[in-house]
């Protein structure tokens, strides 16, 4: 089987609701998307999902004529090509996109869903709910987590950081909503690098007087292993981080400096191959990994086969309008079907319609860092957000 061609279709989507965090609490509902179609001479097409931008032709040329089933070897080749500029920034996004399409093809060539090709026993991944909920009113917040609880999910992650009083109130709301699952809720918070390390310690300790927190996410900057370690030593909750790093090389200092208790991996971590590398390093150190949310939850295929995967983030803002996919959330888990590869199909008509008439809405590209971040906690002005 040989790789013969590619097409990368970019589009703009409008989600069904706003999503946001401490950096952009008013949120966005517009998001760029892309689909990479990787063609072969075997009548199989690899599909992967990205975040817009023009796929670089030279990266395709590096795999043209090669067998996609040799994906680990091709990953090494691509990574070497990125040597001087580094495997980072948009280069990583495209490396990830290509690697995921290669794995999709490898599984399709075997006629198997990717979770099976990767050696998982079942296509079933424990899930936690994550509202990306800063722009949600208290009522919308409750109804999101209640909806997730109805699908058996009892763990939830709240966006926090700007308003200590509101954070406490909204944690209570999330708790009550998740309790409707009939299980004891498990609570996580995510500050998205808004705090300084010491600010994080103070804020988290205050929340911990009332709530048992399973993990706190990005309580300090992504590369600040001293700060992250300090937080981990000074609060009860585990420190989770990693989503804004991009490769095992980025994660290495955090792991070897014992600065992280839970590692987030995602579609932007140098592909399926990169996620495996990070998980395997983490496994050596007995650190669990959690998969970040993904359009159509397709990265659950990868999570299912990792020895140290804990639970995967599930959100439902509506990012799948031009996709069909073979999985569902039930019994607190993402249940993956038996369709080959990632099990994603693209509705060409809907994709073309989005490309022809791009939706309008609230968008910020790229997603910025918040005003005052790392220096002081600046609550949004009253009346600007539905919860304040």
């Amino acid at each position: 089987m040989r790789i013969t061609g590619y097409r990368c279709e970019s589009y703009l989507m409008r989600m069904d609701r706003l999503i946001g965090d401490a950096n952009l609490p008013e949120g966005v509902d517009l998001m760029p998307g892309s689909v990479l179609f990787l063609e072969t001479d075997a009548n199989l097409t690899g599909i992967s999902l990205g975040y817009g931008g023009e796929f670089p032709a030279w990266m395709f040329e590096a795999v043209e004529g090669r067998d996609p089933r040799e994906v680990l070897s091709l990953w090494g080749r691509l990574n070497d090509l990125l040597h001087k500029g580094g495997n980072r920034g948009t280069a990583t996004l495209f490396l990830s996109l290509l690697d995921m399409a290669l794995w999709d093809l490898k599984a399709k060539a075997a006629g198997e869903p990717l979770w099976r090709l990767l050696g998982a026993r079942e296509g079933r991944v424990p899930a936690y709910a994550s509202g990306l909920d800063y722009p949600l009113s208290d009522e919308a917040l409750f109804s999101f987590y209640q909806r997730m609880a109805a699908r058996g999910i009892h763990a939830g992650k709240l966006k926090v950081g700007l308003d200590p009083e509101a954070d406490l109130r909204r944690l209570e709301i999330m708790y009550e909503a998740l309790a409707t699952s009939g299980k004891t809720p498990q609570l996580m918070i995510d500050a998205n690098e808004y705090w300084s390390a010491k600010e994080a310690v103070r804020q988290i300790r205050r929340l911990e007087e009332k709530f048992d927190l399973t993990w706190v996410e990005e309580p300090a900057r992504r590369w600040d292993y001293d700060g992250l370690r300090l937080v981990s030593q000074q609060v009860r909750a585990a420190v989770a981080t990693g989503e804004n790093l991009q490769s095992v090389a980025d994660l290495y200092p955090l792991v070897s400096e014992q600065a992280v208790d839970v590692i987030n991996i995602s579609t932007n971590h140098s592909g399926v191959t990169g996620c495996r590398q990070i998980a395997h390093l983490a496994h050596l150190y007995s650190i669990p990994v959690t998969m970040n949310n993904a359009q159509a939850n397709y990265m659950a295929h990868v999570a299912a086969a990792l020895p140290n995967h804990w639970m995967m983030e599930v959100v439902d803002p509506g990012r799948e309008h031009c996709l069909r996919f073979d999985n569902r959330v039930e019994d607190g888990c993402i249940l993956l079907g038996d369709s080959p590869g990632f099990g994603i199909e693209v509705d060409r008509a809907k994709l073309e319609a989005l490309q022809r008439s791009p939706p309008t809405g609230q968008g910020r590209f790229p997603f910025p860092r918040g005003e005052g971040a790392g220096r002081r906690v600046t609550a949004p002005p009253r009346g600007k957000l539905p919860w304040r």
Partner: protein
């Protein structure tokens, strides 16, 4: 699904006490591996308790299952490793793929080295065999098992260097202390050897598990320090990595299987450490070579020198 275990005949001067393991599925596909006879009861127990009735395509999950069961029962990792190697062979055959491609790699690259035993070969025989290896198998790298006597190690290393190096190509030399000495003793011996010879790595320069000893040798000698054979993937490697005690990571299919080897190779990559693959019957380790980002070389299973652990290829 069937498990067939065959005892391989012992050969004088060769490896003894080895089994061939074969896993067969209902469709007739099969996967093969090798193990020492001592692992037989554990292999049969893991088969009964962990694999029977399972979908054998779930290789990664089954690896976690069998290694956990084996550790709970207080056993080393040889039985799970043998089953994992056979499961990978089976998975590849089901997909009608060569194993190296099922693992995700490209055509195996044959950068291999031969290992020469400590005893049993005088210098003339050693020179003759090295010349054969160089001419017939293009061997340019040789690992010597250190003997009891420093002086004879030096003369054997020089003999290898002159014989193969005399053919006009660069040669690399490695020295394996097999965990038989203290770190301090190895430091002294290597320092003395390095006065006249360059060593690419010294292997197992301290007792197994003494990662502190490995680390101190690494700081004292010019050669890289190579991890020993026989480490498992689950717990053995953490101290060696964390203490920066090794410069070369050795993957051993007979204690890690393919699944564990792939995982440790990823961790080695994070630590920027090259990996070498220990010999295994049938040179099965070669299948891994095209998958690993920091692949260095593979130990060649040299029947004539009959040096390495493992059985023979039927």
């Amino acid at each position: 699904m069937k498990l067939l275990i065959t005892e391989l005949p012992d050969r004088p001067g060769g490896p003894t006490g080895h089994l061939k393991i074969e896993l067969q599925d209902a469709g007739g596909a099969s996967g093969v591996s090798f193990a020492h006879r001592a692992a037989r009861p554990m292999i049969e127990q893991l088969m009964r308790e962990c694999l029977d009735g399972q979908d054998l395509r779930s290789v990664a999950a089954l690896y976690d299952r069998i290694t956990a069961a084996e550790a709970t029962l207080g056993h080393d990792s040889r039985a799970s490793a043998a089953l994992d190697v056979a499961l990978w062979g089976l998975a590849a055959e089901r997909r009608q793929e060569p194993l190296w491609r099922a693992l995700g790699g490209s055509t195996p690259v044959a950068e291999y080295y031969a290992t020469v035993p400590a005893d049993g070969h005088d210098l003339v025989a050693l020179g003759r065999r090295c010349r054969q290896l160089a001419e017939k198998q293009s061997i340019r790298s040789v690992k010597l098992r250190a003997g009891a006597d420093l002086k004879s190690d030096v003369s054997r290393l020089e003999c290898i260097k002159e014989t193969i190096g005399g053919l006009g190509t660069p040669i690399t030399l490695m020295l394996d202390f097999a965990g038989a000495h203290t770190a301090k003793e190895v430091e002294r011996r290597v320092a003395s050897i390095e006065d006249s010879l360059e060593l690419t790595w010294v292997e197992a320069p301290a007792r197994p598990g003494d990662f502190l000893g490995y680390a101190r040798v690494g700081r004292a000698v010019a050669a890289s320090v190579c991890a020993p054979r026989g480490l498992n993937a689950a717990s053995h490697y953490l101290p060696y990595f964390h203490a920066h005690a090794v410069d070369v990571v050795q993957l051993d299919l007979s204690t890690m299987g393919f699944t564990g080897a792939l995982r440790i190779a990823d961790a080695a990559y994070a630590f920027e450490l090259p990996v070498t693959i220990a010999s295994y019957p049938g040179n099965l380790g070669l299948h891994l070579s095209g998958t690993l980002p920091y692949f260095l070389n593979v130990e060649f299973h040299d029947e004539a020198l009959a040096v390495t652990a493992g059985g023979r290829v039927p």
